[in-house]
């Protein structure tokens, strides 16, 4: 009865993973001259959805019209990159045996509360990433590697606030 659940491999050494991520980022700079990104892809999805539902509305909305210039917002660099991220993550998860449909939450809270927290966090992050012109990978990580002041300021703001509010959401995590 071979149903012993194979224990998933543990994670790669963080420093090594960091160097790997650094190499990917460097390759992106060398090949395309731009770094990594993520929130831009989500925005492209939102823009394409909004413009299919209400094209006139998006045409004259100050913010969205900026991103509907090229015909199909989904055919953008970041959307393809995020498609790669999803498949890359899947491959790595499969290799390490971590593929499992679940809601990861601290034992102290119910999965429902975790989902509510995740969506609120997502809402804040989506809004903040548009205002800050990039998320942790787009503005902070990429920005820091090209020594841009915006990168450092955004990184410090993100991590600083997260540390500051950590106490209030303690029971969500520990």
């Amino acid at each position: 009865m071979e149903n012993k659940v194979k224990k998933p491999k543990n994670y790669m050494n963080p420093y090594l993973a960091g160097i790997l991520l650094g190499m990917v980022l460097l390759a992106s700079f060398y090949l395309t001259g731009r770094g990594l990104g993520a929130s831009g892809a989500t925005r492209s999805v939102v823009v394409s959805a909004v413009s299919t539902i209400a094209p006139t509305h998006t045409a004259n909305s100050a913010y969205f019209s900026k991103y509907t210039k090229e015909n199909n917002p989904l055919k953008s660099w970041l959307v393809l990159e995020i498609a790669g991220v999803i498949i890359g993550g899947f491959i790595s998860g499969a290799y390490a045996g971590r593929l499992k449909l679940k809601v990861e939450h601290s034992p102290k809270i119910t999965p429902r509360k975790r989902i509510v927290m995740a969506s609120i966090g997502g809402l804040l992050f989506g809004f903040g990433s548009q205002l800050g012109r990039g998320c942790t990978s787009g503005a902070a990580l990429t920005g820091m590697s090209v020594l841009s002041l915006a990168g450092f300021v955004t990184m410090m703001a993100i991590f600083g606030t997260a540390f500051a509010l950590a106490y209030f959401f303690k029971n969500n995590w520990i």
Partner: protein
Amino acid sequence: MGPIVPLLNISNELNLLIAFVIGLGFGVALEQAGFSSSRKLAGMFYGYDTTVLKVFFTASITAMLGLIFLNYVGLIDLDIVYINEYYVYSSIVGGIIMGAGFIIGGFCPGTSFTAISIGKIDALWFILGSMIGIFIFGETYPLWEKLYMSSPLGPVKISTVLGIRDGYFALLLIVVASLMFWVGEMAEKKFKREDITNEI
């Protein structure tokens, strides 16, 4: 002579293919680092797992050193490489909102896609939430337009602001990062959470 795509004006389709391949590498690196688990991500703020700190700073330092050496060798033209424009207030306020979203939601956009790829449902809700957030920003944009556009300083580099050479700043950052790594590992011992680490 990099960057390849703009200088050799490669076709858009090939550029998108490159984007996909880079995304593959990005996804593998993030998942292998363990960024697909929100509790590992949040570990940094509670001390029991400072992976985020280690991976994040090692990655940006590796890329920074890579760019400096490639530039010295003349293999890359840094005038063409994208440098984020700095809009003082929107970077700070945006960062604060993102920080709150990070500690509440447990993900950032990049890691949420990695998490959803291995089956994390909460990451799915995070992404839905972020779509709504972007939609809200788009709709209420006129309210924030002034803040969004205020005090643009252009693609200013931190090394020029500090008046030192890129190489000096890289060394400075590495020393600071090494200290943070050391403190991080100390924190991991102090705030050890056996129950969480075996679970993730």
